[in-house]
Amino acid sequence: MSPPLTSLDRPNSYIGRSVPRPNAKRLLAGRGRYVTDIRLPRMLYAAFLRTPYAHARITGIEVDAARALAGVHLVATGADLAKICTPWTGTLDHFKGMTSEPQLPLPLDRVVWAGQAVIAVVAESRAIAEDALELISVDYEELPAVVDLDAARRPGMPLVNPVAASNICFRTQLDSGRVDEAFASAAHVIEEEFSFGRHTPVTLEPRAIVADYDSESGALTVHHATQTPYQFQDLYARHYGIPEASVRVIAPDIGGSFGMKLHVYHEDMAVVGLSILLGRPVKYVADRIESFVSDIHARDHHVRARMAVDADGKILAMDVHDATAIGAFSTYPRTSVVEGNQVIRLIGAPYDFKSYRAALEVVFQNKVQTSQYRAVGHPIACAVTERMVDLAAARVGLDPFAMRARNVIVDSAYPTASPTGYRFEALSHEVCLRRLRGIMDYDALRAEQAELRRRGIYRGIGIATFVEITNPSPAFYGVGGARISSQDGATVSLTPSGEVRCAISVTEQGQGTEAIIGQIVADQLGLAQEHVKIITGDTEVTPHGGATWACRGAGIGGETALQAARKLKANILEIAALVLQEQPAALDVVDGQITSVATGQPRIPVAEIARIAYFRSDTLPPGTQAQLTVSHHFAPQGYPFAFTNGIQGCYLEVDVETGFIKLLKHYVVEDCGRIINPMLVDEQLRGGVVQGLGAALFEECRYGETGQLLNGSMADYLVPMAMEMPDITIDHVETPTADTILGAKGCGEAGTAAASACVLNAVNDALMPFGASINTIPITPARVLKALNRF
């Protein structure tokens, strides 16, 4: 007997189906076209001289020898570019009191981190440009550098920005009330301090840009390895005084981004200016060594936390302080305080308690900027919360699952809000918790752990509940005055052959945007997916939109495509009704045919409607103008965010002699609402988990006392590789958001959000027999041995 038919058995029902990505075949054949591959006629290459000092005054620049080198076309200093580019400042209005120094493409007289670009050379090849760099001499007068996070906060320390009053960029606090009372009445109070190291995205394709200014037409075309082309169209237009419509930003294949490729970098701004100065295309690709010192870094927090718990293990209150260092200035245009802000707002998010107090201090230091990177703030908030919950569970004498079951917001409580003010439409912590217990086979793992422990093998089990912010509304950046769109746009056309092209503002970096948009459009229009072409990443041909950040591709981009496709379908049916002398409501589209709703019988191919509309409009009734291209925009309304939730589990082994940690198995249960392509969701989750595991165990930007990055290469900075990574079991719960027709929420950051929290809990679980505890991430072998007092 065959299984019952489901909605997926209808033709063209692609939503919910694991179909492979059409564009991936090209990449598999080595036919990707990344910005690093682009070569334009008369193109020149830029390279940058970088400062070795973390903080210094520039007292002299000597560039004549470099200018004289054969093949060099331009040597530009900060002053040269300042003449044509207006400065930018990375603050947002709604972060009251936030400060940051204005930035220019290249500095005029002072450098603020080791590795900052100081002078640009443009030459016929990158090699010649690099030769020329060696002929430049810059005199520096070294200034005291502020390197350490805690030192930077102390009064009387040298100032990163000498005209500022302190090294504080921003301070804020939250207080939902009755915190002190809750602590006074608590049966148990748990206190802990955490520290999180800096890490950096290490996208495999480095940052890359080709700027092409045509002085005759005044038009600027920028091929930019970015996830947000519209944002850069706006920025290049405004800072270089070019009409927005004359600026085109093209983001072709992008070799990874994870938030790193949406910030403004000095070199990228400079390259646009260099092209304007020369009237020729200029290319710049950061090499890996440059990436380490100039891509954004992320995290870098010290958190103090307290939790009040009653005798039964019910959480009563939390009180936290997060100090985070962001480098010498705040990034533009999103700022560097969003991470800290999200840390204090996400702490405790899965749990039902009322009294919460938090303080955030964001401080400057002489290091490269930190900013938004996959799962902004989430891993910090999750690690702090989940470790505190485990410590509380141990104090009360509850199993970690039982502790969470007692404290998560119950699935029947929605809609509800967190004490920090996040409004939750519908989350599914309880069902996720039960599912995780099942897929882990928790009781068997505990039995195995106990058995091995008797033989001197120390395994740990860690779980972590999480909430992920997705589908942000204009309340995210718009209210702060940033020109960052929370809406997306799509233009959908029926071609004369009855196929569809959809130009959409959400962009593709490998996560499968083009595939899922194609699935949605084909599904809604009743066409085969191979007849739907998706176009992304070009401001000249796609409507304006926010593009890809904060997991908005499916939830916002997908909904935009869905609504656009429905509009086009209505227009197609209107023409079909005229041709067939029917009511539009009596018709539908199935598998490329206009069909009768009543009988399901095909009446006429969609391609025939298209042919008539485009080539034989004379046969349509007078006054008919076929609208077979529709443009549509969609911005989220209703809840300010759609929250994804879930839970992860981790099983690992700690070698107590060497401190090495072996990951054995990882588990994820998550609820991202309507799933469009389960395979792509699974792979997003796995990729995200592995990124989080790297952060948990390996990745740390280590600095020397003078502010030099000591491990700035792929030989020294450890990233997760295939050998160290476990297999990852994934299960889904589907609670669609009622705010959209599609019902999708994001999933791209869910994996990263909870992975380090899980590992932290699992390592501490493994170390339990030794009474040792670790609260620093990454958890390196040396730190494990230190916790064990063996180092």
Partner: protein, 177 residues
């Protein structure tokens, strides 16, 4: 005014290679790496540069049938060699089953690591017919991927190994008397 500087490294050396089955001659500077030569002179951009220090595997190509890092070799050192890049391996069809399986399982996201992954997989399966997952993971230990969780890549390689082994045993049965 400083005098113009002459750069010795601008000198060009002519090298001859067989790239993807075709004889080519390139004029390269002694400091150009093999990956520079492939990407810039021959416009074979499928070979990527991720770290230029032998740590990421994005630049792997086959030199006389063995995988080498294009970033760790000067172009002049490859003079006279046979080089196969992702483009050539794709066109000849020798890795078509690997590519199809990677596609089917979405064993790639941005695709920047993918040519190097495929070359490692191809080399592994040439030497080991039925590698364990552990062996596959070990073989991939020089290929960095920031996007995937590696698992789908391991699954794809294991599936191709199994399929090839099945075909081989059928072939063997067919040929037995």
């Amino acid at each position: 005014m400083s005098p113009p500087v002459d750069i010795e490294t601008e000198e060009q050396v002519r090298i001859r290679l067989i790239v993807n089955g075709r004889k080519v001659a390139c004029d390269v500077a002694p400091r150009d790496t093999l990956v520079d030569c492939l990407r810039q002179q021959l416009e074979l951009t499928g070979t990527h540069a991720g770290c230029e220090m032998g740590a990421c595997g994005a630049c792997l190509v086959q030199l006389d049938g063995a995988a080498v890092h294009g970033c760790l070799m000067f172009a002049v050192q490859a003079d006279g060699a046979r080089i196969d890049t992702i483009e050539g391996l794709s066109e000849s069809g020798v890795i078509a089953d690997l590519q199809a399986e990677f596609h089917r399982r979405n064993a790639l996201q941005c695709g920047f690591c993918t040519p190097g992954m495929l070359i490692t997989a191809h080399e592994l399966l040439t030497h080991v017919a039925r590698p364990s997952r552990e062996t596959i993971r070990d073989a991939l230990s020089g290929n960095f991927c920031r996007c995937t969780g590696y698992e789908a890549i391991v699954d794809a390689i294991a599936a191709v190994a199994a399929a090839r082994a099945a075909t081989a045993s059928q072939g063997a049965e067919g040929s037995s008397p």
